[in-house]
């Protein structure tokens, strides 16, 4: 495998940074909702989840721009139909992650509880929508559903990558590897 066939370093860094953040956020969301019963700890985790969520949203927007700008294109090394499936999955991952973050932000914005989304350097994210309890609950439900679907897609994405690495041995993982 020659080095030129790898994704550009910027693309690889963006990939692994968002991969780590997304997995972390899925796990955090699942744990804080289902297993953390002390309100004080839960409050802190929710606050972190919201702040990190906005960071992931920004990160994904950068990746979309990056991809549309052509920094993330690479000639296919696999059969056409597999490549199309992979690209379809990538688009799905982008769309789901963006939707997850946006719907989460919308739920926070419409919540009757005016809790700031804390950003670095003392900034706060503005509420985009007026408080609306029913709407906020709908957004929250959608947030949970999208999270489950994204989790399944991430699992499919990882399974496909491992299959190509271990079974097809086509060097796919090496193209995205940082090492």
């Amino acid at each position: 495998m020659n080095a030129a066939a790898r994704w550009p370093l910027s693309t690889r860094l963006l990939h692994w940074l968002s991969a780590g953040m997304i997995l972390f956020m899925l796990a955090l969301g699942f744990v804080m909702v289902n297993f953390v019963t002390e309100p004080q700890r839960r409050f802190d985790l929710y606050q972190w989840h919201k702040s990190i969520g906005l960071f992931v949203l920004a990160l994904m927007l950068v990746r979309v721009v990056w991809r549309l700008a052509g920094h993330a294109t690479l000639r296919a090394t696999i059969p056409h139909r597999h490549d199309r499936a992979a690209r379809g999955m990538h688009v799905l991952l982008y769309v789901l992650t963006l939707a997850l973050a946006l719907v989460g932000y919308a739920s926070v914005s419409t919540s009757p509880l005016p809790l700031p989304v804390v950003l670095p350097f003392g900034f706060q994210a503005p509420n985009l929508l007026a408080p609306d309890y029913a709407l906020s609950e709908e957004f929250l439900r959608a947030h949970h559903i999208i999270a489950v679907i994204l989790g399944l897609c991430v699992a499919g994405h990882i399974a496909a990558a491992l299959k190509r690495h271990l079974v097809d041995r086509d060097g796919t993982l090496r193209r995205i590897s940082l090492f």
């Binding site: 004080q40 700890r41 005016p114 906020s136």
Partner: protein, 209 residues
């Protein structure tokens, strides 16, 4: 009695200086009762913070029950077992001493969405009426001021004599439900319930006949 008559009078004078109208008038009246052996005015003794707790609990939707307490407060209690209606209580709670076990959540509760401590540093309660229910229960009605809004508020009080045998020392456990919307504390409703349970435990000396 905690101390001699002079001390009690001194306390009453101090108390009068720092108290609101209704209670002041009530206590002046008490103080002006003839000091007979059978009808001594109940002494208004400061509560002992070490033996007092002010706790609250609030339910949420999709949010665990949140319990907290206030760590800074002062108050006076006058208890007369023979004439429960002559008993009285005042409390002044420092709003910013709210403690739910998380500095970040405490800070949030101190903000304008909830206690707004910058504008309303104190939460106060002054009893206006004490009714005996039975030998171990009473109902205390009064005015509660929260976020600058005063509303009538009542608590049910359980009275116990501590097991150490000191008949004059009484243990109280007051419970009541506060409807926070009445005080303009609307944030988070209905995710966070309107009903806030209050549990106040304290001890006091009863007036001796």
């Amino acid at each position: 009695m905690l101390s001699g008559e002079t001390g009690e009078r001194g306390k009453l004078v101090k108390l009068k200086q720092g108290m609101s109208g209704v209670l002041c008038a009530a206590l002046s009246m008490l103080a002006s009762f003839p000091e007979t052996h059978s009808r001594a005015a109940p002494s208004a003794a400061s509560i002992d913070p070490a033996r007092t707790s002010i706790e609250f609990v609030v339910e949420g939707v999709g949010w665990p029950r949140t319990k907290g307490h206030f760590s800074s407060f002062s108050g006076k209690i006058a208890v007369d077992l023979q004439r429960p209606e002559a008993s009285s209580v005042i409390f002044r709670v420092t709003a910013k001493s709210v403690d739910v076990g998380s500095p970040s959540l405490d800070d949030y509760l101190r903000g304008d969405a909830f206690f707004d401590v910058a504008h309303f540093p104190d939460i106060t309660f002054a009893s206006s009426k004490v009714e005996k229910v039975d030998d171990h229960h009473a109902r205390v009605m009064g005015d509660l001021t929260l976020r600058g809004v005063t509303r009538s508020f009542a608590v049910d009080v359980e009275v116990e004599t501590p097991e150490d045998g000191n008949k004059d020392s009484l243990r109280f456990r007051a419970t009541g439900t506060l409807h926070r919307l009445e005080f303009g504390m609307n944030a988070g409703f209905p995710v966070i319930s309107n009903d806030v349970g209050l549990i106040i435990a304290t001890e006091a000396e009863a007036a001796t006949p």
